[in-house]
C-alpha cells in the first residue's frame, strides 16, 4: 500500500506535503525512502544545517540541494571556546560564501558559529544576496565594523543581525549610520559584544525609532543609563532587551526615568546585560518581572540578598543565568518562587581563586532540582559536590536532558565520603533517560564510563576532563553510547587501544576531540589509513609529531567524519598522514 501511494501522488503534492516537514532529521529520513522522494525532497529543501563545515564541501551541498534559502554552519570544535584550539586552525567561511554567491541568489539566512568571517565575506554577502534577511555570527571572529557597514548599507530587508559573543575589530567606521534612512526592517539586533567605540548612540536611537517591528535588542556594555531609558521609550514593543551599564550611585531622576521606561514595555519577556549594575537600580525593572521568562544576570556582581529579592518578583521565570553570588540561599529562594524553571546556569564569579568567594555548594543545585519540577537543563560550577546530592538530583529530576557539572578543582572527590563520583553520575545517566548532553568533572574512575556506556543511550554530547584510569573508560563510552555524536576529552589517560578498537564507531559520530591524553602519532596514522572517511588531525605546535620519540603522545587530536576528504586550508601545526600536503594553501 505505501509503495502504490508513493507513485500515485504527483510531485507537486509530495512537495507540498514535504513543505510541512521542517526538521532536518525528518527531511533526511524522507529523502531515504526511495529515489523519487529523494529527488523531490532535494529540490525543495530550503534549510541546511552543517554541524562541521569540513564534513562536506560547499560544492557537494550545492549539487545536492540546488534551492537552499537558509544555511547554518559550524566551524571550530567546542573546546575552541576555552582556548584549546590554536589561532589559525581553520573554520573559514569565505569558500562557502563564494560558492553560494553564485549558486543561491535567493539565500536569505546565514547562521555561523565559531567560524572565521572576514570583511571580504561580509561584503560578498552584502553584494550577492538581494533579499538577505538574517545574519547570525555566534562566537565568530576575523571581521571588523567595515564588514558590518557593508551589510548595513546593502541589505535593505535585513531583519536580524546577531553578533553574539563574536570578536569584532573596531575600524572606527560608524557602521550603524550606514543603515539608510529608508531602512525600517530590523526585528532583532544583538551587538552586545561590541566595544564602546563601535556604536554611535544617535545612530542607534534613530535606527530604533524607525523600526517598528523591533522585538529583540541587545546593546553593548557602554550605553549609559539615561540612554537606556531613552531607547526603551522608543521601543516599548520589545520582547527581549539587554540592559546596559548602570551608574555608580543612585540618582532618583535617572531611576524614575528608567522605571517609567520599563513599565511601558508590556511585551518584555527576556532581560540580560546588567553589567556593573548597582542593586539600588534593580527595582526599576520590577514592573516587568512578573512576566519575565528569561533572565541573564551572569555579568552582574550583585549579591545574594539582592538576587533573592529580584527572583522573588519573577514567578514566571523559565531560564536563569547567574553567578555563584546567588549562593545556596538564593537558589533555595529560586526553587520556592520559580516553579516554571526549565534552565539554570550558575557561573563562577572568580574561577581562578583558590578560595570560594560565595557560599555556593551542591545544596543549591539540590534545592532547585527538588523544587523545580520542569527543570531540564543545568550548567553548574561549584567547588564541592557529593554522590548523595547527585543521586538525589537524579532521582527527583529524571526529566533532565542537559546536565553539565563543573567542580572547579580537577579530581575533587565527594566531600562527604572521599570517593569518586562514579556512583553519582551513574545515577544521573540511569535515571535521566532522555539525557542528550553531559559534562563530567571531579574525581572519576573507569566505572563512571561503564555506567555511561550502559545507560546513556540517548546521549549525543559528552565532555570529559581529568577522569578515568585507562583505555577501558574510553572503550565503554565508544562501545556503549549509541547516539553519541560529539565526544570531547582533555587530560585523561585514554590511549591508542580504545581508539583503534572502536575505529568504526568514529564514523558514526560527528567528531572526537582529545587533548593531553595518551594517543600516539602512530595510532593516528593507522586510523587515518584504515578509515578514509575520517579526517584525523593532529594539532601540535611543538613540531612534526614523527620527529619525536616513539612513545611521545600527541598534544591534541581532532577526528571527524567527512565526505569532503582532507582539507586544503590546514595551518602548519596541523599534521595528517599525508606527507605530500606540501601543497597546503594557507588562508
Amino acid at each position: 500500500m505505501p509503495k502504490r501511494l508513493a507513485s500515485s501522488l504527483s510531485d507537486e503534492v509530495l512537495e507540498h506535503v514535504f513543505s510541512f516537514i521542517q526538521s532536518e532529521k525528518d527531511r533526511n529520513v524522507v529523502s531515504a525512502v526511495c529515489k523519487s522522494w529523494y529527488e523531490i525532497e532535494r529540490w525543495c529543501r530550503r534549510k541546511i544545517f552543517v554541524g562541521n563545515c569540513y564534513a562536506v564541501s560547499p560544492e557537494m551541498v550545492i549539487r545536492r540541494f540546488p534551492q537552499v534559502r537558509s544555511i547554518e554552519l559550524k566551524g571550530k570544535p567546542h573546546f575552541a571556546d576555552f582556548n584549546l584550539v590554536p589561532d589559525g586552525w581553520g573554520g573559514y567561511v569565505l569558500p562557502w560564501i563564494t560558492e553560494m554567491a553564485g549558486a543561491y541568489p535567493w539565500l536569505d539566512e546565514i547562521r555561523l558559529k565559531r567560524m572565521v568571517v572576514t570583511d571580504e565575506s561580509l561584503e560578498l554577502i552584502a553584494k550577492s544576496f538581494k533579499d538577505f534577511k538574517v545574519l547570525v555570527l555566534a562566537s565568530c571572529e576575523g571581521f571588523s565594523t567595515d564588514g558590518l557597514a557593508a551589510i548595513a548599507a546593502s541589505c535593505k530587508n535585513l531583519r536580524e543581525l546577531d553578533l553574539r559573543e563574536s570578536e569584532v575589530d573596531d575600524s572606527s567606521v560608524h557602521w550603524l549610520s550606514h543603515f539608510p534612512e529608508t531602512y525600517t526592517s530590523m526585528v532583532s539586533l544583538n551587538i552586545s559584544c561590541l566595544g564602546s567605540g563601535e556604536v554611535s548612540f544617535s545612530a542607534l536611537e534613530r535606527l530604533v525609532s524607525r523600526c517598528p517591528n523591533l522585538r529583540s535588542l541587545k546593546l553593548n556594555r557602554a550605553v549609559p543609563l539615561d540612554k537606556t531609558a531613552n531607547i526603551l521609550r522608543l521601543a516599548p514593543q520589545l520582547v527581549e532587551f539587554s540592559a546596559c551599564t548602570y551608574s555608580a550611585e543612585l540618582r532618583s531622576d535617572v531611576f524614575s526615568n528608567l522605571a517609567g521606561a520599563f513599565s511601558n514595555c508590556k511585551e518584555l519577556r527576556s532581560l540580560s546585560g546588567f553589567w556593573d549594575v548597582v542593586p539600588d537600580y534593580l527595582p526599576a525593572i520590577y514592573s516587568v518581572c512578573s512576566r519575565l521568562t528569561s533572565l541573564n544576570l551572569s555579568y552582574a556582581t550583585i549579591l545574594s540578598p539582592d538576587l533573592i529579592k529580584l527572583v522573588s518578583h519573577c514567578p514566571s521565570l523559565q531560564r536563569l543565568l547567574v553567578l555563584d553570588y546567588i549562593e545556596d540561599s538564593g537558589l533555595e529562594a529560586l526553587a520556592s518562587n520559580c516553579k516554571d524553571l526549565q534552565e539554570l546556569r550558575v557561573f563562577p564569579s572568580d574561577p581562578f581563586d583558590a578560595e570560594p568567594n560565595a557560599s555556593l555548594t551542591e545544596q543549591g543545585l539540590v534545592a532547585v532540582s527538588l523544587g523545580c519540577p520542569k527543570l531540564q537543563s543545568v550548567l553548574y560550577f561549584c567547588r564541592r559536590m557529593s554522590n548523595a546530592a547527585l543521586v538525589t538530583i537524579a532521582q527527583n529530576r529524571p526529566n533532565l536532558n542537559r546536565f553539565r557539572l563543573c567542580i572547579i578543582e580537577p579530581n575533587t572527590a565527594d566531600y562527604l565520603t572521599g570517593e569518586p563520583f562514579d556512583v553519582g553520575f551513574g545515577a544521573i545517566v540511569e535515571h535521566c533517560k532522555d539525557l542528550i548532553r553531559l559534562s563530567l568533572s571531579g574525581l572519576l574512575t573507569d566505572c563512571v564510563f561503564e555506567y555511561i556506556g550502559k545507560y546513556a543511550k540517548k546521549l549525543e554530547m559528552l565532555s570529559v576532563a581529568f577522569a578515568g584510569d585507562s583505555d577501558l573508560g574510553l572503550h565503554h563510552v565508544l562501545s556503549g553510547c549509541e547516539s553519541l555524536r560529539k565526544l570531547e576529552i582533555r587530560d585523561c589517560p585514554f590511549g591508542d587501544k580504545a581508539l583503534l578498537t572502536n575505529a568504526a564507531k568514529l564514523e558514526t559520530m560527528q567528531s572526537l576531540w582529545m587533548s593531553s591524553c595518551s594517543v600516539s602519532f602512530e595510532a593516528c596514522k593507522l586510523l587515518s589509513q584504515k578509515m578514509p572517511r575520517l579526517n584525523v588531525e593532529v594539532i601540535d605546535e611543538r613540531g612534526p609529531p614523527d620527529s619525536r620519540p616513539e612513545n611521545c603522545t600527541v598534544d591534541k587530536l581532532y577526528i571527524y567524519r567527512s565526505v569532503a576528504g582532507p582539507r586544503f586550508d590546514m595551518p602548519p601545526f596541523v599534521w595528517t598522514k599525508d606527507e605530500d600536503l606540501a601543497l597546503r594553501l594557507s588562508p
Binding site: 568567594n357 560550577f381 563543573c406 584510569d469 585507562s470 590511549g495
Partner: protein, 253 residues
C-alpha cells in the same frame, strides 16, 4: 610533560601521612600494574581529609585542593583510611598535580621540585595561569570578572566608558574583603565606590549586618607594605591608592 618520577625513585617505607610524602604515594602506585598504556608518570588520586568546613577552608587556603596531597592543615591519615588504596584497584590513577606548569619540565625529574609544585592546587598556581582552558569558562566571561589590579591582563574588550557617569576608571578594581569569623572571603569592586559611606553600606549589606550592629564593626585594610590600618584614619584617596585588601573586625570596647 611526561615525568619519569615514579620509575626513578627508590621506594621509601610507607609512613602515616602527616606531611603527605608524594614520593611514597607515587611508588606505592607504581608497584601496581601500570597497565598497557605505559604512561610514564605515577598515577594517583587523593581525596579530602575531612568534611569539616573550617578544615576545608584551611585546606584550601594552604592552597591545596581537596585532591592534592600537601598542607599541614590536613588531618592525619594512615594508609588504612585512604579509600583509594584498595587491592582491587590495580589500574593507574591520575595525579594531576605533577603536570601542570607551563614551563617545559620534560627533563626535570627532581622530586623535590615536583613536591614543591604540588603544594598548590592545579589551577590556582601562577596567578591562574596554570591550566589552559580550565575551568571551562569562555574567554569573554573571564575578562568580565577576572580583573585584578596587579595581574589582570589589559584587553581591548573592556569599554573605555567615555560617557561614564562619575568618571570611573575603565578597569574595575576588585579587592578581597573578609569579615572576622566568616570563612568565606568576598570580593568588592572599589571603582564603583567614592566614599567610606558608600563602601561601608555595601559591606554591611554584603555581610548581612543590620544598621543596629554597624557600630560594632570597624573597617581595617592592609596596605602595600603589609601593615593593617584603620580605614577611617586616612582620607579616601590615600585609602584607595594604598589598599590591598579589607577586613571587617569587631570593635572592642
Amino acid at each position: 610533560m611526561e615525568l619519569q618520577l615514579g620509575l626513578a625513585l627508590p621506594p621509601p617505607p610507607l609512613i602515616p601521612i602527616e606531611t603527605f610524602d608524594l614520593n611514597s604515594y607515587g611508588n606505592y602506585e607504581t608497584r601496581e600494574a601500570l597497565g598497557t598504556n605505559a604512561l610514564s608518570w605515577p598515577l594517583l588520586k587523593l581525596g579530602p581529609a575531612d568534611n569539616d568546613i573550617n578544615n576545608i577552608h584551611h585546606h584550601n587556603s594552604s592552597s591545596s585542593s581537596s585532591s592534592s596531597g600537601g598542607g599541614a592543615g590536613c588531618k592525619k591519615r594512615s594508609f588504612d583510611e585512604a579509600p583509594f588504596f584498595d587491592e582491587k584497584r590495580n589500574v593507574p590513577k591520575t595525579l594531576h598535580l605533577l603536570l601542570w606548569t607551563n614551563q617545559p619540565n620534560d627533563e626535570d625529574d627532581d622530586p623535590s621540585n615536583v613536591l614543591h609544585e604540588n603544594s598548590s592546587s592545579a589551577i590556582f598556581k601562577n596567578d591562574g595561569e596554570g591550566l589552559v582552558g580550565w575551568p571551562p569558562v569562555k574567554t569573554w566571561r573571564k575578562k568580565v570578572h577576572h580583573q585584578i589590579p596587579n595581574g589582570g591582563a589589559e584587553n581591548n574588550r573592556l569599554p573605555a566608558v567615555e560617557n561614564g557617569i562619575g568618571g570611573r576608571a575603565s578597569k574595575s578594581t576588585y579587592v578581597k574583603v573578609k569579615m572576622e569569623g566568616v570563612p568565606i572571603a568576598r570580593k568588592i569592586d572599589l571603582s564603583v565606590h567614592h566614599s567610606f559611606e558608600g563602601l561601608t553600606n555595601t559591606l554591611m549589606r554584603m555581610f548581612g549586618i543590620s544598621d543596629g550592629n554597624r557600630k560594632s564593626f570597624k573597617l581595617t585594610y592592609q596596605d602595600r607594605e603589609g601593615d593593617w590600618l584603620l580605614a577611617e584614619d586616612v582620607p579616601w584617596r590615600t585609602f584607595i591608592r594604598s589598599l590591598k585588601c579589607l577586613k571587617l573586625i569587631r570593635s572592642r570596647g
